[in-house]
Amino acid sequence: MMTEQILELRAITKTYPGVTALSGVDLTVNSGEVLGLIGENGAGKSTLMKILGGVVAPSGGTIRIDDVEHASLTVNSSTGAGIAFVHQELNLFENLDVAGNVLIGREPRFGGFMKLIDQKALRARVQPLLDRLGVDFNARALVEDLSIAQRQMVEIAKALSYDARVIIMDEPTSSLTLTETERLLKVIGELRESGVSVIYISHRLSEVMACADRVVVLRDGQRVGSLDRGEITHDAMIRLMIGRSLKSLYLPPKQQPRDQGLVVEDLVTTAFSNSKVSFKIRRGEIVGLAGLVGCGRTEVAQAIFGVDPALGGRVTIDGKSVKLGDVRSAIAHGIYLAPEDRKRSGLVLDLPIAENITLASLPRYARMTLVDTAAEHKVAEEQGRKLKIKAPDVDTIALTLSGGNQQKIVLGKWMSMQPNVVIFDEPTRGIDVGAKSEIYALMRELSDAGVAILMISSDMEEVLGVSDRMIVMHEGHVSGHLERNQFSEHNVLTLAVGGTIQQEAIEHA
């Protein structure tokens, strides 16, 4: 088949205030090829795809489609050029049938000004697309009755209905079973045969190996290399994904960790009901919990803290059992969580700093059930001083503060309550550099005071730099443990993507 270049991105740059998301990225897509796009969390894959979709305008560079140059795309020009998305979180109307979803907004009509939908013509136009994909449902099926894999096929049919020439799939298999994944890979192969190109973004390197003709690797917003069909191997991909020089953030602990601490045994979360997770965190150590987005880290944290129910297992602190699925029990045992989504779960944004800090311990500042605001202010001011929260006073509404200061409020809430275990979920996401190092220092201070600390992080620099020890998760189970002398990006990623590495290989690092 003749291959022609349909899409070329040249020197694409995207900067946000203070952050460079992409710098000088080149990318070409030829007709009828499957291009694998890989890179760690935050390497710039999503930004690049948003630029292709016309959702985000690049700060520099050009986009060439069919020999026409554009400085940026709009959603319409992107669709018009035959670029279609199959999103990670599917964008379908569950209440409509398959045909209605595929041609949404473009329904064949009759009845003149009444614009009635011609259901028959609608289905007649959609059914051939479904046949082409070889799916096991028809155009009249309701989307709410379909499985995730089937819904994905609806999205692909929708892309085809726009005469898409490039279909972008972002982590398409993250919620598919093994057989469904194989089916999808087969469909991708058929799309390629018919001349449609696919940009396949995935953390699952074996799938990329199975379907990609070419792989482009991004790291820290830059294109760091590409691999042709014959060169695509696990090792080659991982080698390209890592390899930047990491700054040392490590603050060594003042003393050996104690024997006591948090013990998690056979914990089963609702997200991965057939994996059991076990690990131990001693008082006085910071344990990093690494893994790719969606591997179940947050679910483990929330199950330990009791905001999510657990399907089984045991959590103990210093040998004392914590009641699962009960936040109040976790809190009573001094187990606290600084959640991933600060604004939604960590803070009541519309309340002042002081009320946020005492929110979890209010009865302590109450006399005869009435809040003693003087005592409350005293504690809030004390935490504000310790954590260097930058605000005019503790009556300032949390909403008005920067991300770093908001995170400090969350920490202040727990630090005022003598923690035994603190779980930090993405502790520095969206926080500037200065506040980051303050938070790292604080974590070390806490651990030196005998607190057991679990830090979930997608930031490689952070997880390698701050932890004393690391647990790596892959698809809901613990795929390995790393001691400080085994820390390397290579080892973390290997465990995070497959977990099939041998113990000697880890020791070598």
Binding site: V327, R328, A366
Partner: protein
């Protein structure tokens, strides 16, 4: 924080002054006493509905509850000749139970508050009518409850007891809402239930308690209304009263999204509503336009409030951006 309430207070004064100029009868002692009585009657259950609205919920069944509980109270007192303290206790307890059921349906079965209390509205109205076979119940020649009758429909000097009782409830609920741990939880749950849960607040208990409080105050209200109307015709008694309560709460600064509002606000909202009702009579506006006047004033109030809120938010965001810009400088240096 009190700006909203102050605005409402000034609005009441202005409307009152204009009405008084147009018809001096408005500030006659007899009219004001009557007005105060109305405020007391309608304010009592509005406080309860306001508490529910602060959690982000809604309570639409109070009107039907007034009819059902009123009927039951009359039956116990007149036909069953129960001692009035016992009849009162059963009636108020009934209110608490109904409210608690609403709360449990909302928190345990995760039903929408609107749906739960709308069903309540229909169910209780039907039960009230069935209870008396649709006929009006009255006191007849019953006796033995003169003390209660004086308590709820009498007055001290020129001040009606209903008003005094309402003010007392307002004071107590002010402390509960604005000073107590429970009140703090109530606002936190209304503003951000998720963050409240992540702080170990028993959110389901807090929300259920709000509905129980609404039921309690509605139960008390039912007794006041029975003595005020002297009889209960189950198909009309309390009709639309839930909307008076919602209107008073919204006028008083409660957001239907939850997390906002104050007892003082709900108090003033009730006062304004009753002043408007009274004004329609006083100024000779056709009484058929009663609801229209009320609706228009609430609409204007909400629009004005939205505008003020928008400006305030804008100012906060500008200020905080400025503060952040200056606050960051030392960290970068």
């Amino acid at each position: 924080m009190l700006r909203k309430e102050l605005g409402l207070f000034l609005l009441i004064l202005v409307i009152g002054a204009i009405t008084a100029v147009l018809n001096p009868q408005f500030i006659s002692q007899i009219n004001l006493t009557n007005l105060a009585n109305q405020i007391g009657l309608f304010g009592l259950f509005a406080i309860g509905v306001g508490v529910v609205i602060i959690t982000g919920g809604i309570e639409l069944s109070v009107g039907s509850m007034l009819a059902l509980l009123g009927i039951i109270f009359l039956d116990l007192l007149v036909n069953h000749e129960l001692a009035w303290p016992i009849a009162l206790l059963i009636t108020v307890g009934g209110g608490v139970i109904l409210g608690t059921i609403h709360g449990l349906l909302v928190t345990q079965l995760r039903l929408q508050p609107f749906v739960v209390t709308l069903c309540g509205l229909l169910i209780y109205r039907g039960l009230a009518r069935y209870y008396t076979a649709d006929s009006t119940a009255g006191f007849g020649y019953g006796s033995g409850y003169e003390t209660l009758e004086w308590l709820v429909s009498g007055r001290v000097g020129v001040v009606p007891n209903a008003f005094i009782f309402f003010v007392a409830v307002c004071l107590i609920m002010s402390v509960v809402l604005h000073k107590s741990v429970f009140g703090r939880y109530l606002f936190a749950v209304g503003k951000n239930e998720e963050a409240a849960r992540f702080s170990g607040i028993p959110t389901k208990l807090v929300i259920t308690a709000a509905y129980s409080i609404a039921g309690l105050l509605t139960g008390l209200s039912a007794i006041f209304f029975v003595f005020y109307t002297q009889s209960v015709s189950p198909s009309a008694h309390g009709n639309f009263y839930e909307l008076y309560a919602v209107a008073a709460a919204v006028l008083g600064g409660c957001s239907l999204r939850g997390g906002e509002g104050s007892i003082l606000g709900i108090f003033l909202g009730t006062v304004l509503l009753q002043v408007l009702q009274n004004l329609v009579n006083m100024l000779g506006i056709p009484s058929s336009l009663n609801y229209t006047v009320m609706g228009a004033v609430i609409m204007l109030g909400v629009i004005a409030d939205r505008e003020l809120q928008r400006r305030r938010m804008h100012k906060i965001m500008v200020d905080s951006a400025a503060a952040r810009a200056t606050g960051k400088a030392p960290a970068a240096a």
